[in-house]
Symmetry: C2
Subunit: 164 residues, 2 copies
């Protein structure tokens, strides 16, 4: 199986130093502020980003040390295939969150709506461009019945990412 | 700088065997069909995915062998910071596309709206859940003035991913 090497290009700082009671989705993290520190060597790549109101943060779920193919999501009591969830225990622990971009100052981004653990390694940033996707008539499978609870639910350590 | 190891978990098959004339975004790839073959050892993780109409494919832009911090995007004639674009020549060549999920049969997904090169290594799959993001009043920076051309523009080898 091919190995693919990526590297940390920055760090995401958030108020969440514990996996207990973290919001489970960006929509549940309304107003949660934090900063993204991009390593100085990549600062030039941040040009033109400030015109975007929302960006994708792509990050390494670094506390996730193994994976399960079936997981019990926060929104459900049944085991679900991991690829139908955002659970961190994935074969490749890559996290994606759409966050609100407040400001860009040199290599520091101020962002909002963070559902990310403090100190998480950043892998990439992309602009969020809703018009580029065709999401009319979107069906959301097993999440449909519990989507109204997304904002209230908090993480509870179910996915203890690390064995420590 | 920390190195992070991921591995290929499957392969994305599309009609695009040349970087010339590929659609540049999923919204420009309306009706373009392909398949995702997830390696059999991960099949169980695909359970419950079929209820979703749209999924994120996260993949390795494997033809991208180096990066630039400023790039000239297909939609523009000016140099832009790479993180404000989806250009493949990124510090970590991770691609993300939201595609339409047509069917799931064992370890094979039939998908639509592909803007992806044939044979691209798959890293992860996540469900697309529009309600989880707060994209009201989204501003899209430098792309605003050219967004009406997204569907017509095709790639032109500008980003020759490989030096071959």
């Amino acid at each position: 199986m091919n190995n693919i090497n990526f590297r940390q290009i920055g760090t995401i700082y958030t108020p969440f130093n514990s996996l207990e009671n973290m919001p489970i989705q960006p929509a549940a993290a309304d107003g949660v502020k934090g900063t993204v520190e991009v390593f100085p060597e990549f600062t030039e790549g941040l040009s033109d980003l400030e015109g975007f109101s929302h960006i994708y943060l792509i990050f390494h779920l670094h506390l996730s040390t193994d994976y399960r193919l079936k997981v019990k999501p926060f929104l459900d009591d049944e085991l679900r295939g991991v690829f139908s969830t955002r659970a961190p225990k994935r074969p490749n622990p890559i996290g994606i969150s759409v966050v609100k971009l407040i400001s860009v100052k040199n290599n520091i981004l101020e962002v909002e709506n963070l559902d990310i653990f403090n100190g998480t390694p950043l892998l990439d940033i992309k602009p969020a461009i809703p018009d580029m996707y065709n999401l009319e008539n979107c069906k959301i499978g097993w999440i449909e019945k519990s989507k109204n609870t997304i904002k209230e639910k908090k993480s509870d350590g179910r996915y203890l990412w690390t064995k420590v």
